[in-house]
């Protein structure tokens, strides 16, 4: 064999080995691009959520060797919770092979991605947040506001207040003030509270707190004058502890303040000190590390020094557990999709199918080691929220304690409102509305 021929054979072999290696890597990996925020004003929430998500992915890799042998991989891009950075990270990572789903945990970034992910045919998961009308999978085939959307959150809060008062009929004549963040997020539920007030007969006052909410004296003096039975806190960031501290200043009891899902973390109450004692907030996932899945994370992931949180005391915190639950839902969607399409790297469309069949009843949740951590989920092709149940936790000064059963929002009441909004979106964007789960997704 002459030198030229030997070189050709060697190069050919190297190329073949390289290609095979590349194909092998891509053949059994499912990738999560993470638009995380670990610095900046919202870093406390970002480190908790993405820490929990990564901890669960690590658990699946270490304990099970991936999902049916398909390894889970990820890469992080820092967004500082800013929309333009989130989009930039999207553009940077969207070409990576085997993307399972996007999970930005940011309303702004999620809104900016809807058209892009629909075009790219990859699911966008907005657990507990996002566009309410994206619940309608007929119009938003790739968007999944899993467990809870802002409208069902509103209904869940009103149902909880009703349960405290002795039933929905006891709401008549009561007064509820909603203190909301002065942003599109804060204002989104204004019409739903109005509709629920008309339905149940309670009087309603909705008061805006300008961003960022570090000064609320006038709002709480107005609340004091209004003498409401309950205040619903629809806050974000620094607005939450300031609300609790100012409530104490005007003598409003903390146990009559009900926080929404973005006012329910340790980061919202710790800065308020004693003023937060007794405060109650909604959640889709209980906090605490006593659940079997959390114990496995501690033993297997942190035991192997692969835990994502620097501070182990944060294991089981609200944001960490939200990340764990988000991990469970993503992994189970892949597992369900693999049962149909094969145990291999799936396309975004195949993972979407998995999410559209993500049905975890309480027995399956228990088998996953998450009994009590969250209740259940039942996603279908047209219901992308999945009828998540909510519970309420009370802050005792050092930890959250569950104080209610799992409560179901009034989905039947909300669905027509959601469909009206999604139909308007479909008309505006020229989207053909799907008529069944088998109906192909239009572009």
């Amino acid at each position: 064999m002459n030198m030229f021929r030997r070189l050709k054979v060697t190069m050919g072999a190297a190329l073949a080995v390289g290609l095979a290696g590349t194909l092998a890597v891509h053949a059994d990996e499912q990738f999560f691009p993470l638009q995380s925020y670990r610095v900046g004003p919202y870093a406390a929430g970002g480190t908790g959520f993405f820490g929990g998500f990564i901890d669960y992915l690590n658990l699946i890799n270490i304990r099970d060797g991936g999902v049916n042998g398909v390894k889970l991989t990820w890469d992080e891009g820092e967004t500082q919770y800013e929309v333009e950075r989130g989009v930039e990270v999207y553009e940077r990572l969207k070409s990576h092979p085997g993307i399972a789903a996007w999970n930005p945990l940011s309303v702004g970034i999620a809104y900016a991605m809807i058209d892009r992910i629909t075009k790219d045919r990859v699911p966008l998961i907005t657990i507990n947040h996002g566009r309410t009308d994206s619940t309608d999978g007929r119009v938003f085939p790739y968007v999944f506001p899993l467990l809870l959307n802002p409208y069902s959150e509103t209904s869940g809060i009103v149902n909880y207040i009703a349960s405290r008062e002795g039933g929905p009929d006891k709401l008549k004549g009561k007064k509820i003030v909603v203190l909301y963040h002065g942003s599109p997020y804060g204002k989104e539920t204004i019409p739903i509270y109005k509709l629920l007030s008309d339905k149940y007969g309670f009087s309603l006052e909705q008061i805006e707190v300008p961003h960022p909410g570090n000064e609320q004296q006038s709002q709480w003096l107005s609340i004091r004058r209004a003498k409401p039975d309950y205040v619903v806190l629809r806050g974000w960031g620094v607005m939450n502890p300031v609300a609790l501290k100012t409530a104490q200043k005007v003598g409003f009891p903390a146990d009559h303040i009900i926080g929404n899902v973005w006012s329910n973390s340790e980061e919202d109450v710790i800065p308020a000190g004693d003023a937060a004692k007794g405060y109650i907030a909604i959640t889709t996932q209980a906090s605490g590390a006593e659940y079997p899945v959390l114990q496995e994370v501690i033993k297997t992931v942190y035991g192997a020094n692969k835990g994502n949180l620097d501070d182990k005391k944060r294991i089981g915190s609200v944001y960490h557990n939200l990340g764990i639950v988000n991990g469970i839902l993503n992994v189970e969607a892949i597992r369900i999709a693999q049962a149909k399409f094969g145990k291999r790297t799936l396309t975004g469309d195949e993972v979407r199918w998995g999410f559209e069949h993500l049905q975890l009843d309480p027995a399956r949740v228990e088998a996953l080691g998450a009994k009590g951590l969250f209740h259940s989920i039942n996603v279908t092709w047209d219901n992308h929220e999945g009828d998540g149940r909510v519970t309420f936790q009370q802050w005792d000064g050092s930890k959250w304690k569950v104080v209610s059963d799992w409560i179901a929002p009034d989905w039947a009441f909300l669905r027509p409102i959601i469909e009206k909004s999604s139909a308007a979106y479909a008309k505006e964007h020229g989207i053909r509305i799907r008529t069944s789960g088998d109906d192909p997704v239009s572009q």
Binding site: G46, S218, V238, G251, I270
Partner: protein, 296 residues
């Protein structure tokens, strides 16, 4: 019937909030008065001070020792900023200096999170925030304490400027930098001292605001509360910072409660700026600011 008691309650609440704004504004005034720099990094310094203090306390440092250590760190930080950022930019246009402090604010915020982490913290300075009742009007103990601190700080500065050599040199530099230089004052030393004092003010502001909001990243946003205060009171007057703070606090609370409902609420932030802008048109140097007269 008009509820006068409620009006008084809103007004008192506004005035006490205004004192908190003044605490931030004073830091701006000190730097501007002596060096003509609008220090946008004052909010970041406030965050850095509060985060350092609370992190030391949480790591087991006694309260007094943590306070002393933070004080020393803030003085060193102030001097370092003057040496490494501002001094090399002497004689540059004001906009260059302003942009330098803007960049500096990001650097300090990033360094604070890098050093002490991203977690939020509660800050207990031993003053209960439960209100007490004065003829039906609830008054916050913490706000009263902050007002006393602000008052004490102003009194201290008044004594310092009047009766100490350094204070005298501050005043000289503030009046006329060239004249001060001509009579032998060392401007860099004065500027270094001023930045150190601004660091101390940031510590006081950081602890007061941290006790109110908790110690978290958004502490640095309180600078936005100081800007209309400076416009109203004047950029170079400590008395102006106090009066401006009281005015802004009262205006924004009264506007929110009595005018806000006509606009759907949430007006207090921009109401203060509307008044400040109006004031700029009538009296550009603010209530107590020095009128700039230039020969052309």
């Amino acid at each position: 019937m008009f509820d006068y008691q409620f009006l008084i309650e809103v007004l008192i609440g506004g005035l006490l909030s205004g004192v908190m704004y003044s605490l931030v504004a004073i830091g701006f005034v000190l730097i501007y008065k002596t060096s003509g720099v609008l220090n946008f990094a004052q909010g970041a310094m406030l965050l850095f001070a509060a985060l350092t203090f609370v992190s030391l306390v949480e790591r087991g440092t006694p309260f007094a020792a943590a306070l002393a250590a933070t004080l020393a760190i803030m003085i060193v930080l102030g001097i370092a900023v003057e040496r490494t950022v501002l001094r090399p930019l002497v004689n540059q246009p004001p906009i260059t200096l302003f942009m330098a402090t803007l960049g500096l604010s990001y650097v300090i915020e990033g360094a604070a999170q890098l050093l002490w982490g991203t977690q939020v913290h509660g800050l207990d300075i031993g003053i209960s925030d439960t209100p007490f009742d004065v003829a039906g009007v609830l008054i916050s103990r913490l706000d009263l304490f902050a007002a006393a601190v602000a008052g004490g700080l102003v009194a201290l500065f008044a004594l310092f400027f009047r009766y100490t050599r350094t204070g005298l040199s501050f005043r000289a530099v503030a009046d006329d930098q060239f004249a001060a230089l001509a009579v032998g004052l060392r401007l860099p030393r004065v500027w270094g001292a001023v930045w150190a004092v601004a660091g101390i003010v940031a510590l006081v502001g950081g602890l007061s605001w941290g006790a109110r909001l908790g110690v978290q990243f958004s502490l640095s946003l309180v600078v936005l509360k100081a800007l209309p205060v400076l416009v109203l009171g004047g950029f170079d007057s400590i008395a102006g910072a106090i009066v401006g703070g009281l005015l802004v606090g009262a205006i924004e609370k009264l506007a929110e409660v009595y005018v806000g409902p006509f606009f759907g609420g949430g007006i207090e932030v921009w109401a203060a700026y509307v008044v400040a802008l109006g004031f700029l048109l009538i009296r550009p140097s603010g209530l107590f600011g020095q009128k700039l007269v230039e020969r052309v």
